[in-house]
Subunit: 473 residues, 3 copies
Amino acid sequence: MASVPSLVSLCLLVLSHACSAQLEQVTSQHGWTRVRGEQRRGEGYSLDECQFSRLSAREPDRRLTSEAGVTDVWDENDDQFRCAGAAALRHTIEERGLLLPAYTNAPKLVYVDQGQGYHGAAIPGCAETFQSQEESQQQQDPRQGFRDQHQKIRKVREGDVIALPAGVADWFYNDAQTPLVLVQIMDTSNPANQLDNNFRKFFLAGNPQQQIQGQRGQFSGQGFQSIFQGFDEQFLAEAFNVDTDLARRMKNENDNRGVIVRVEDRLQFLTPEFSEEERSEYQRGRPANGVEETFCSARLKQNINDPSRADVYNPRAGRITSVNSHNLPILRSLRLSAQKGHLYQNAIMAPHWNMNAHSICYFTRGTGRVQIVDENGRSVFDGEVREGQILTAPHNFAVVKRAGGEGLEWVAFKTNDQAKISQLAGRVSSMRAFPEEVIANSFQVSREEARRLKFNRDEVTLFSPGSRSQYRA
Amino acid sequence: MASVPSLVSLCLLVLSHACSAQLEQVTSQHGWTRVRGEQRRGEGYSLDECQFSRLSAREPDRRLTSEAGVTDVWDENDDQFRCAGAAALRHTIEERGLLLPAYTNAPKLVYVDQGQGYHGAAIPGCAETFQSQEESQQQQDPRQGFRDQHQKIRKVREGDVIALPAGVADWFYNDAQTPLVLVQIMDTSNPANQLDNNFRKFFLAGNPQQQIQGQRGQFSGQGFQSIFQGFDEQFLAEAFNVDTDLARRMKNENDNRGVIVRVEDRLQFLTPEFSEEERSEYQRGRPANGVEETFCSARLKQNINDPSRADVYNPRAGRITSVNSHNLPILRSLRLSAQKGHLYQNAIMAPHWNMNAHSICYFTRGTGRVQIVDENGRSVFDGEVREGQILTAPHNFAVVKRAGGEGLEWVAFKTNDQAKISQLAGRVSSMRAFPEEVIANSFQVSREEARRLKFNRDEVTLFSPGSRSQYRA
Amino acid sequence: MASVPSLVSLCLLVLSHACSAQLEQVTSQHGWTRVRGEQRRGEGYSLDECQFSRLSAREPDRRLTSEAGVTDVWDENDDQFRCAGAAALRHTIEERGLLLPAYTNAPKLVYVDQGQGYHGAAIPGCAETFQSQEESQQQQDPRQGFRDQHQKIRKVREGDVIALPAGVADWFYNDAQTPLVLVQIMDTSNPANQLDNNFRKFFLAGNPQQQIQGQRGQFSGQGFQSIFQGFDEQFLAEAFNVDTDLARRMKNENDNRGVIVRVEDRLQFLTPEFSEEERSEYQRGRPANGVEETFCSARLKQNINDPSRADVYNPRAGRITSVNSHNLPILRSLRLSAQKGHLYQNAIMAPHWNMNAHSICYFTRGTGRVQIVDENGRSVFDGEVREGQILTAPHNFAVVKRAGGEGLEWVAFKTNDQAKISQLAGRVSSMRAFPEEVIANSFQVSREEARRLKFNRDEVTLFSPGSRSQYRA
């Protein structure tokens, strides 16, 4: 399947590619060109679907309990998910919990909110490049010369964003003693989903029994099962070249463990360790240069919790870290990105609008106040938000956030791999871009007042609660 | 229509960009490949939406009056706009009128039908590179050392097409004594719009009071307001670091000026002038080579009225000038293009179909007759058109136009940045591409008659009324 | 937010483009990145449209009889076509039959199931590079110095896949004594179709009389006609510069021949022959390098029946040959590909899912059994298939096929130009990608049984009926 690009074409790519590619690249630095242009959202619904007059900050609507964890599900039918064309889940995986292998009809972003563990993805055409530790021990046993091989496994930890294309099967395992909490969104309106906008999860094993599939407008109670349950036993036996009994057992028909199962003996993986030099480079946040990688070794994750990687930092207001197709190239094909925000107590995030994306915001810590305004100047959300809630700012709607007394943290999933905001106040704002006279005449204020609107806030993106005017009339 | 790629660009292509990139580039010269492939239209509606049996040439359905101008709106619910997935407006801005800053959920093309003025766009991430003239005067005043800075401002004039991505706020100002008339289409079904297909305009100032938002099926009377009206005053005051009184006044709650306001004192801008050499290059229509530009200085406009830039010219029939992603690269990300047509009296534009776009045609001058035919061979439009009307030729429908006694001029907005037509008659036509015998057998005519169909019209695109056969049996 | 591109990254961009471009190129080798990312399907329908609980293998629903052949039409309203967003037809063209020139609102793939003939496409902007043989003979006749010229004509034969963009007019002619059978799908949900999802065919000649246009939910009986029938005779006469009588005859109003007409005297084309060296290169399946081509000479076809071109070959199980944008670059813009499968008697195609495409499968020979399973583990198809039927495997649904006693052959049209499958069993499977312990715990089987599931089948894609375990406990 996976044809390796010839050396020649690779060479040519590296040497040339000039002209239009350069402009295109430069424009795409600004995030509102090529990529956005290829997305299409909000389709397939009745015409007034995004005409909601009210948004709500929501906690999950439904909990599914498994043997070794729980899965919290947000109702896809809620306006904010329906309009953004996405679905959201939160898995809490206990110690020795294994989230069963499955693939979905939509690309997804997973944020590791707590804990640590392992992630494995089965990418067709890539070699089995890892040998399990178990196998090494077995080699000591002369009766057992068998070598297990499997594809790359990735260690994941709090703050990681993991990106996965549609149709790729993956699993998670919690090897630590604290829960592994995964918040994830599936972009069902992504062009990669060629089915309808329902979220579909295809399990490769287990007998999950409960409906976590999307079916807008309902969460029906019908049991669902792994794809193997739909196949004829004889057919399976023949395809896998095993006896019928084993083929039958692949169906897990009497399995009541749910989607997160407990591993009997701790899973053992061979996990390569950093050399000292490597660790140091890693800790310096060295970005991938994209040349050393082949597709099979493409990075699928990036940590956005590490303060040293902040993209915006204001010691009096907070920090913001983004992962997008510039620093995690796989996101280009997924057309998704994410932003981690830390807003210190009482600080304000600049009023702004999302130019080319919806922003599906999961609050990871603290409390705050958010206002969202539509094109008619109506406030569609004005209220408190807190840890564990999701609130979506629709494409182009105006937003302002202020942290409460404990600060406010969030991860915002954005439906564009180079999501971009336009700010209304501060040093990088549309107010600064307009001539003073345009502001004065538009707002019917004096020239001097226009200057204040334009220049009084000199911070960027994150505003300290007590910041003072830079310009005094 | 089919512009042959210049030797230079072909050379560059061969030298660099190699393999697949080269073919892709060459194919995209022909406009019916990559770009079209990324568009998706006519979605989100009931299945028979484009099954209209009749089109009409329409004048605006509704007029909104402002302090310093009027806005004429075409009904988005009309079949031609609904099917093309676009909305259309015409602003007439009087002397010293300022069209308030706003952004929309869709990319737009603006054609300057009359007059001249200024256009400012606030592009996030770009520096404030202009200093207003006002500011220079102020520097004389020792009490007032303040320097106003703002982003680039563009002078616009009759015949300009201005292209703007979704989510970018912009404003227009008429500095002349004659009205500035802007005809614009917003491509609401563009992938850049992640909301539903309604046209949404977010005003950054003012209190427009009247509904010009799209709401297919109605033009509701509910007042609408700038986005600042949805924000809490205290919140605004804090974000802008101004007092609450000024924050309240940003909301313009008692403002009855509408969307086009009159500037008290003439706006003064510093506008750089051409050097002699520059003007000469500009007048020669030197195309952008795409290398000298960074995103912040990307051209957003191109004049398509200038006869010296015509792409097709027939002194007995008229001329056609196109602006597309080859000569205005920003259009690549907008996936839109435009064509200006001048048809002299009684001349004919070749019967043709739009291969990869809808063509939303605004008639700027004169009268004429148009026929449009659907896939069932039914005439869905056969009638007179005149100045001020819009008539859309849906994707693939067959079209023929003839100018009346005064000639006919139009600007056609096309939903593809490399829109392409296929002609039925003339020197560059499908009739010429087919073997004579295929024509004879298809139409059940003699070989000699087939030759007449194929060769009797030797002009390209624009046919003179009195042209005579090139081939005689 | 607005990150200014660093000097370093700009430098890199100008010098090379390396980085993301390289990764992008590499990822697109794997077919589940960029291209899929640009597709969008299943939109515009009610929300539960792909919730079918049952698929069926269908023969055509309707037959239209023409003078020199028949056209079999599958009902677009059937779930599998509606969900995949495509339409299917089969033309059987008799000796001297000419399929009338027409264009469609969707890109299409044509598979030549039987016979041979000629294909002509009228590509705007390309020169008339062929001179018909007829014309050469005529040159002998001093009374007749006329030279007919037309665009390139392509010889087609059994096993060819012909790719054609939307909006390009083409025709087929059968010059042999055996029927020319063309199976074709039109990708109506392709972004290139800017109209609604109905299949529309615009005939340039004839008077087909019968409705073969798509109108989901019906095949209405209303007659339809060539586009010339919608135009005014006088207008046509003027545009073509012919007399009104000939213009009227272009409308073929009394033509009852249907869409496939019989040519009076055998059509004569000048068809260039291979030199010996060329033929040898052709037979070696030399892939286009993309540099030697200009758009006008772009290959539109590729043979996928030739055993020497097989991509997967197992002498005990069969072979698979694909045509995709790697070996037929025009497919990149069409976002379609095709696969020819030959499964020997009782052999099995590995259980798999289509990662990034629907697979619309036309069975060309033999019989077999197919199972298709949805995300709920329900079998939505489990039955026999045979020559002449179409069965669609929806995006992501799990599929397994086994040939009957005569073997099974098919051509699968895929809605992605780099369609990719993920296999569940065999040497290149997700089972191999997972660690043995993950399999053991997921399926609740022993380590030894997990090894059997993982390693017992060592073949790739195509499994021999009698293959035996590679690993024995």
